[in-house]
Symmetry: C2
Subunit: 372 residues, 2 copies
């Protein structure tokens, strides 16, 4: 491998000031990141539940290791290729909170324990149990399997009443171990009305409790009863039902979760650093960060620390800002808080870790683009 | 480099059937791609204008070379790091249809002619002329410079009346050559009402003609008068003013341009191949393609060739489909037509080139993620 070039392969090198970082790029406020990691871990500890951090959000082995060093029991991810990237990077307890289907993917999954990792996945279909069992037997490995229940989001997962039957199939399948329940209510996470959010999670908790009770009555105790995200984790942590939280976004925060959680809950540690590159009209600035460096699925980014300018429109490579007081100049750098952190991180190769205005280290987005 | 692994680094290998391609991934119908390339080139030829294809869309050196082999005079892109990727891959006539600002980026730009490439860029600010000239002199190279005018989109660019002054600054700057006008009306491209779209482009053509005339009166002929996109190129081609078209999306097409242009205009050659991975409820299927493999800025994808199922919601790694007749099964593959091709391509490392149902070759997304 040849040397990495600033402005082509990498946005910065350690020791640079933030003003020298090439844009557009992702920067991480390391103090804020460390504070967020500590805060969530202490909340999980206080509630007496494990924290299995979601690696789908940051896709970074290094950040996952920071979270594990702080007390997380392991990580989650969504894809086999992500799990491979994490396992190759040394992570040793990996749950795919998703269905893994098809011959190639199940075969790859079944090989992962050979790297020394504990591997868990979710099922909502007896046919999936059969293909996972065949793959595990082929490689002489063990895959731990959670039954995913639909606890209100209506996406994947079986009804609670179907959980015991599926658990029995897992228990009977060579190479598989029944590990418990996956019960994530994704559609509640970004519900801005706290009463409605709480209501959705109370429904999810009730559905999960019912599945746990049915499994217990059937002689199938759940080692893991997992779910929860940054928008709802307080409820699951306090439920007395869940024993593992799967939060991800709390580490970085984004504009949408700020709207949901309000001020005070975690700090923004992730920013898209951008630079003004055209300013012909006095009240209108154009920056170098558009659609290709941040996802707009949850709205436009917010400009951190400034109330005088507003990001008003994005195109592929440009952002347009209202600058009513002509406060900006060509070359002015701005920190943008992206609307949605997960798909924004997936667009980049590197996080630039900043402390006290100086680049401390570059952190690779280990599993960027791993979508298989 | 170790061997690339199917399902981790690459989605397929040549000779596989489409059914064997790992998903989610980008597939290219090579017959459709070749037909689109030929069609646009013949239209440009018939109008007597050059076609400088936009590489920001596909970010692929191999596809750019196909377009040049068909008659394109060169390529466009938007970022210095993209231009570097294309120049390193052998492209020899590259216009950055954007402002390049700041010491690092202008220095990198000025080094590109050393690779043997003709390099052009755009300015809308005299200060940019000075920094480009300093960089070109530092490296002993020549950068060709277009004056960008705002012909109606209101993003970057000076007013037509300011073009002669900026051209004079370019002419006077050592290391730079004045090459003409950049006059792209981006906000007209996706205007679905053809009358409104035509009106926007007529305004743009009038502004461009005025700038050309002012420059001519000032003794500054324009070698290049460039602009146009897939939504508007017929108007610029017939204008008698423009002599270079900068179309990109025509090669792949997407759901939004289909809405704008209607049936018959180019073929869909780009698809996100996806697989059903959960189907618990009879009328609801979940596929493995969500936000991280396609951009939703221009709406949800359409399911190619099927009117019985509809992609109704996307989350990070999932797509939800209404399947009212239970037509889908776990394992069913679908071709999705993304809403917007450019930011979708940027999410992937590879195009899987398909002909007659078989993988013919993998085509790298050469400049994927090159955003500096």
């Amino acid at each position: 491998m040849t040397a990495l070039e600033v402005g082509y392969d990498i946005p910065a090198t350690p020791g640079m000031t933030e003003a020298e970082v090439q844009t557009p790029s992702l920067i991480l406020d390391l103090d804020a990141l460390e504070a967020n990691i500590a805060s969530m871990q202490s909340q999980a500890d206080a509630a007496g539940v494990r924290l299995r951090v979601h690696g789908k959000m940051h896709k970074s082995a290094e950040i996952a290791q920071m979270q594990i060093a702080a007390g997380a029991c392991g990580i989650c991810c969504q894809k086999v290729s992500e799990a491979e990237a994490f396992a190759r990077a040394g992570l040793r307890d990996i749950l795919i909170t998703n269905q893994v289907r098809g011959a190639v993917k199940t075969d790859r999954l079944a090989r992962l324990p050979l790297l020394g990792a504990r591997i868990l996945t979710c099922v909502d279909d007896p046919a999936n149990v059969a293909e996972l069992s065949a793959a595990a037997q082929r490689h002489g490995t063990e895959i731990e399997v959670l039954v995913e229940i639909d606890c209100g989001a209506g996406r994947c997962g079986v009804a609670p009443d179907q959980a015991p039957g599926l658990a029995q199939a897992i228990v009977a399948a060579p190479g598989l171990r029944f590990a418990g329940l996956q019960a994530y209510q994704g559609s509640a996470q970004h519900q801005a009305d706290p009463v409605a959010r709480r209501g959705l999670i109370e429904t999810a908790i009730a559905a999960t409790r019912r599945a746990v009770d049915l499994l217990a009555a059937d002689g199938q105790p759940c080692a893991i009863i997992g779910g929860a995200g940054t928008g709802s984790y307080r409820f699951e942590a306090a439920s007395g039902v869940y024993n593992e939280l799967q939060c991800g976004s709390y580490a970085f925060m984004d504009a949408d979760y700020r709207r949901v959680l309000g001020e005070g809950a975690f700090r923004h540690s992730l920013f898209v650093l951008t630079t003004v590159m055209s300013h012909v009209k006095p009240d209108h600035a154009v920056v170098d960060a558009g659609l290709k460096v941040m996802s707009l699925d949850s709205g436009l980014p917010q400009v951190a620390g400034r109330s005088d300018v507003t990001y008003v429109a994005a195109s592929d490579e440009h952002g347009e800002l209202a600058d009513p007081t002509s406060a900006l100049r060509v070359g002015t750098q701005l920190r943008l808080i992206p609307g949605h952190c997960d798909p924004t991180c997936n667009l980049h190769e590197w996080y630039v870790g900043i402390r006290n205005g100086v680049v401390e280290r570059l952190i690779p987005v280990t599993a960027r683009g791993k979508s298989f």
